[in-house]
Structure formats: structure tokens, C-alpha cells
Symmetry: C2
Subunit: 412 residues, 2 copies
């Protein structure tokens, strides 16, 4: 079964806003066996929206659109939908009540434009938007389904699980092959295989279990080929059985981001964390604090962009900076240890490097980054040379620093 | 003139990687008068790539593709190109030399797959890739142009200016109407209008100058409608004339991100900056240090995620936290002043709030954020209530905090 995604909005088409909705929708449905045929981005013009929907109706069974539902453009997108799917706009009482509730909650007065959002094509089923005023719309057309979602990213993020459940109920799963990933930590591949032997023996012949070992984690992948039609309920039971068999070494259903993996490992060990960042400039702290519930592990950190803050806030010896430079093994080791000490944490991560475009010195080209991690078992440091521009160096150094601690901590 | 963008790659289509190339390409060409018709994302399948290119050739004059040029997939994308544009793959000596130089620079050994990247369709002109091994390819077909760019974001970012210059040389500009924006700071709209009166009088009738005042900045927009064919050289002269007329109040050609605007204003005033972040968790520091050359202004900061770091690293009075809570005006004011003091900076930004999903207390729902800014003229604090999930609250609070200082600093 094929899925097409259509992102509607001049702000995306003209590059003023980066689209993150399409990726989230793709990931959600891929896991359920859907094949993504294509993603299209079109502007707020009726003819373009219509052309994109008509092309998608030819190539796909399911179409998900986001955007174009704001109160100032109702006529365009909803008009296109009624042109294609029939029907007329009528007042929807439950949508109107939802708008009232949301405005009351925000202490705002409703204007006429907002009230127009309660006008909905009678050719669709409404999915109430718990997070905003624009209702989600479910259209059916010759066995094909189009779901119009709002463009605001947190509304899409928040409503997507419910949309996916309704799609499951309508189509079963999207394809005969269902697959899902699981992250496992703190166990060797062979010990895990031993533990899962009985579970594996119990699996039906059309189910495959794969071990994908990465540094610091093993990703388990379960694929079930149902032949003609997928059975999401049965597959869910197989997934639950796998989680039970993995036991306490299951870090997460799905693949974890590096920061999630690190937080999981530190939480298991009862360790706390502090950061000391120079060239990554706060990005490691940002990646960690993006994870909800990080506060039981992460205590805080220092962005020591200039050298005297390395000395005053992290107790780096000024002579070390004088003799070996700020981008050096000795400096970065002292930063990691200083972060632990000053923040009262069990573990520390530190970075010092040259993100560019300026700042290169002989023997230390742009992209040179020293990373140190410090744990109760000791401090280790490594030198890297990352390619790319400033943004790429910051991104790569941050991810590497997080993984360097995740793969080091707790090992003998 | 119309532009279509095609993003090639399973990793984008399946949502594993967020595409940022399409937005950058769209912005670059919009400024030059091109109209973006559509953006398509397709997977690494020849039939899909071909269908996307053929549809784009119908609707657009210029097509830019990114991705699908990696050494393991050469045959697919280059094969599609020769199917459409004719020609055969031949060995290109200059591409081979470029690959040698890049590998030598990185101290790596070239393998056979990489060497294959020197095989290029003889139906295209090669644009040498200074940042990677996959050459850019320029195809022409019945007055239409397709440019195949690599998918690695920093290669796209780095090569785009040269691509745009070559497109200018081939097409003139993309449309009869050219437009560009400029950011102006530290001057009132009326004083700016007075200063620009002579320049405005000298403008030909087909050129419009618009003032778009925002908090902390005035964005100037220059639009020139050349009627039949645009003249990029003439427009460039008009732009240069505007910059000269604006004088020292010109902050940048183009619209600045909040962090760029703040750094520009602080640099003008000779002020340095420190940050103290609780709920934004390092994101403000990250946004600031993403800007190249920030080190003359930004000294560093503290991510005081737990309360005792607010006390130990920022000199917040423990009694204040005890009595008013960490999310309070008094705490956030002391954080901003503590950041200035401890980091030896002229200005400080501080945030303390509840990003969610947990952590709400009576009277302080999720989304409550106190932001304080401290300058040599004093400290001010404001309370906000941001909507959305954790990520949205962090993003909005960070942008608001940066703008709060940018609009406060230096004003009487």
C-alpha cells in the first residue's frame, strides 16, 4: 500500500520555514508497512494543490496533507477539497465548540475569521483537533483516503498517533510486511541471542528477527511478512513478546537518538551528567535537554566560549591553556573533570575545537575537535577532524561527544 | 521563470533525515526573481527519479536536483540523466583530479567505488565540487536547464552561490521582478526615510522601496519590475546604491536571524554577552554560537538545569528560590545578573520556565517562562506563556529571549 504526502504552504515552498512534518508522517507510516511514494511541496494556490492531490490519487492509496487550513485561507484548501471530493461547506457544531474551548483556555477573544474554521465540507469526516482550531478532515474517494492535517508542527506531532490509529482501523496495516525497531543496551549480542532463543523459536515462519549492533547499543528489527494482508494486532502481540523477552535491557521501542541513549544508560547506572562546551557552544546541552524528563540525570553545564571562563568556571589551569592551547588534550580533559566537580555530577562531557570558518592554526585545521569524557572510572580524550562547514562541525562534534560517553560509561 | 526542486534520497523520503537543501535553494532563487513551482522528494529508484524530472521539465524552466550522486548509486542517477538527456558515461580527468586532491587532503585512500565518480555523462557540463567528490552536472534540454547537485547539506550550501552565478549568466535573472531585503538597525523609520529621500527620488519608476519595521530592526525591501526581461547587473547597482545610502545603520544584506541581529547590535555598542539558561537548556547559546565570528561578543554561559547550579554558578540567592520558586521574576533577574558577573560580560540573558510535558504547578502551567535581560542600563524581566509541546516552548522562548535583549539594548 502506498502513501503520498503533500505539504501545502508558501512559507515552505519559498524556504522561509523548514518542513519537519513530512519526515514525521513518513516515519510513522513506514513503521506500519506503508511505502512512501513521494512527498510534494506546493504553494497556497488552488490549481497547484489540486494538481498535487490528483497526481497523488493516481499513485497512492492514502494521501496525507498538512497546511493550508489557516483561517485566512479556508476558502482555497477547503474549496479544492470540495471540487475533488464533492460536498459543500456547512457549519459544524462540534468544531465550533472546540474553537470556543481553545480560545477560552488561552483567554483570547474569537474573531470572525476564526469562526469560519467551523465551516467544514459535508463530504468529510471531522477529526477534532485537540491542539488547535483547524479541524482535521478525512475524505474517501473510490477506496482511497485523503487526510488533511494542520501545518503547525506541534499540532501535527500531537495528532498523528490518533490519525495513525484510524488509518490502521480502516486499512489494517499499509502493507503485507510490517516492521519495527527496538533499542537494547548493556548486553552483548551473544548474551542477548541466548536470552531470545526461546522467543525466536516460537516465531512463525513469516517473521524475521534481525540484530543490528551499533556502538553502545543493539538495534533489534522485527519484520513480519503476512503474505496477502497484514494483521496489525497480531504484529503488536509479537512486538510485545519481544519486549518481554528482552527484559530490562530494552532501552526503547524504536531507535533512540544519541542523547536519549545516553540518558537511558546514565539513568540505569544512577549517574548524573554535566557538560563543558567550547566549540559546540551549548548544542550538547540543547540536545540533552530536548529529551523530556532529562532533569533526573542532567544537572547542567558551562559554555566556556572564551578561555577565562574555562579557568574561572571549570578550574582549567591557565598554564595548560598557555602551554598547549585551548584546543588540546590537556585542556579538554580538565574541562570534563571541572564540569563534574563544579556541577556535582558523576560524569562530564567536554569539547574544544575549531568550528570555523576562521580560527585555524598550524597543525590544527578547521574541523579539529578534542572531546573528553569523564566518569567515576576515569577520563579519556580523543582528537577528531570533522569535515564540513561550521554547522556540520558543530553537529558532528556534538553527536560524537554524546556517543563517546554513551559507549564508554559503565564498561569495564 | 519557474524553478522546480527535486530532492532525491530514501533517507529523506522515509523521514530519517530532515531536508534543508530545498529551502536554501528556494530562498536563493526566489531572491533572483524565480518562482518556485514545486518541490518533490523521491526515493532512490530510477523510475521515480525519471518521472519527477519529466514532470518538472513540463512545468519549469530550471530544475535543481540534490542527492542520489553517491558512489554506490552512480549508475541509477547518472543512468536516468543519460536516458533523458542522452550521452554516455565517460572518464572525466578533472573530476578524477578533484577526487585525488580531496582524498589527499583528508589522508584517505581512494577505493574503486569512489573512482567511479569520475565517470560523467558526456551530455553535461561539469561544475567542479570543491567540497566533495561527486561532481555537479549541468544539463540543457530544449531551452531548459537541469542542475544535479550533491545531497550533503554543506556541499549544497557551499556550492550554491557558484551555481546561482552560472544560472544568472545563462538566464539573466529568473523573472521580470527582482527583489531583495536589507536589515537596518538603530535608527527610527522616519530618520531613515529622511536619509533615503534622495536615493528614493533617483529610483526609476519601475522600482519600489518598502519599509517593514519589526521590533529591533527595519527590513527594507527593494522590488524592481523590469517589464519584459530582468537585468541582474542593473538591479545589483540599485542594491549597492541603497546600501551606500543606508550607511552605517545597515546590519546586513538579507534578513537576519534573531541571533545575528543581536550580535550585530552588541558589536556596534562594544558590548559582550553571557547566557544563563534553565528551561531553554543551552539552545540560546547554541543559536548564538552557530553564527560565525560570534566570539568577539559572546563570552559564554551557564546551563543551570538544577537549582543548586543556579546558586553555585550564578549567585542566585537560595532564599529566593525557596520563597518564589525557580520559575519566578526574582530568580530569573538574579540569573541574568549572575551571568554578567560570573562571565565578565556587559549583558546577560536568562530563562527559567516549564517546557513540559511534566513540571506544571498551580499557577504555572506548562509553557510558563520568565525571561530576564540585563544590560549596563539595568535589568528587566517578563513572563510569557508559550503554546505547543516541549520543543515548541524551547524554540519560542529562545527566540523571544534573544529578541528581548536585541530590542532593549542601547535604547534610552
Amino acid at each position: 500500500m502506498k502513501l503520498s504526502i503533500i505539504i501545502i504552504g508558501d512559507e515552505i515552498l519559498l524556504g522561509r520555514v523548514t518542513d519537519t512534518n513530512s519526515g514525521l508522517i513518513a516515519r510513522t507510516f513506514c513503521e506500519r508497512g506503508w511505502q512512501v511514494a513521494t512527498i510534494r511541496t506546493v504553494g497556497d494556490r488552488a490549481a497547484d494543490i489540486r494538481a498535487a492531490i490528483e497526481a497523488a490519487l493516481v499513485e497512492s492509496d492514502l494521501i496525507v496533507t498538512t497546511g493550508g487550513l489557516g483561517p485566512t485561507r479556508d476558502d482555497i484548501t477547503k474549496g479544492v477539497m470540495t471540487d475533488i471530493f464533492g460536498g459543500t461547506l456547512i457549519f459544524n457544531k462540534s468544531v465550533s465548540e472546540n474553537i470556543d474551548a481553545i480560545f477560552a483556555d488561552r483567554n483570547l477573544k474569537i474573531n470572525e475569521l476564526t469562526r469560519l474554521q467551523a465551516m467544514v465540507p459535508d463530504s468529510c469526516r471531522v477529526i477534532q483537533n485537540r491542539l488547535g482550531t483547524a479541524p482535521l478532515m478525512w475524505f474517501e474517494h473510490k477506496e482511497k483516503v485523503l487526510i488533511a492535517m494542520p501545518g503547525v508542527p506541534y499540532e501535527t506531532r500531537g495528532m498523528l498517533p490518533e490519525v495513525a490509529r484510524r488509518v490502521d482501523a480502516r486499512f489494517g496495516a499499509g502493507g503485507a510486511v510490517l516492521h519495527r525497531e527496538f533499542t537494547v543496551t548493556d548486553i552483548s549480542e551473544s548474551a542477548l541471542a541466548e536470552r531470545l532463543a526461546k522467543y525466536e523459536d516460537s516465531l512463525p515462519g513469516f517473521v524475521k528477527l534481525a540484530y543490528l549492533p551499533n556502538p553502545g547499543e543493539i538495534v533489534m528489527r522485527l519484520d513480519a511478512d503476512y503474505g496477502t494482508a497484514a494483521d496489525p494486532d497480531h504484529f503488536e502481540k509479537l512486538c510485545n513478546g519481544l519486549c518481554d523477552a528482552i527484559g530490562t535491557n530494552l532501552a526503547a521501542r524504536g531507535k533512540l537518538a544519541p542523547a536519549e541513549l545516553l540518558l537511558h544508560k546514565l539513568r540505569r547506572l544512577g549517574y548524573t551528567l554535566a557538560t563543558a562546551e567550547s566549540c559546540t557552544g551549548g548544542n550538547i546541552a540543547h540536545l540533552i535537554t530536548t529529551v523530556a524528563g532529562c532533569s533526573d540525570v542532567y544537572r547542567g553545564g558551562v559554555v566556556s566560549y572564551c578561555n577565562d571562563i574555562k579557568v574561572s568556571a571549570l578550574e582549567v589551569n591557565p598554564a595548560t591553556i598557555e602551554n598547549t592551547g585551548a584546543v588540546s588534550e590537556d585542556t579538554v580533559r580538565q574541562m570534563a573533570e571541572g564540569a563534574r566537580l563544579r556541577c556535582g555530577a558523576d560524569c562530564g562531557i567536554a569539547t574544544s575545537g575549531i568550528a570555523g570558518p576562521g580560527g585555524a592554526v598550524p597543525g590544527k585545521p578547521v574541523g579539529t575537535v578534542w572531546i573528553a569524557v569523564s566518569t567515576p572510572s576515569g577520563t579519556t580524550a580523543r582528537r577528531y577532524h570533522f569535515g564540513g562547514d561550521r554547522q556540520a562541525v558543530i553537529d558532528r562534534a556534538s553527536a560524537q561527544a554524546i556517543m563517546q560517553l554513551a559507549t564508554t560509561v559503565g564498561e569495564k
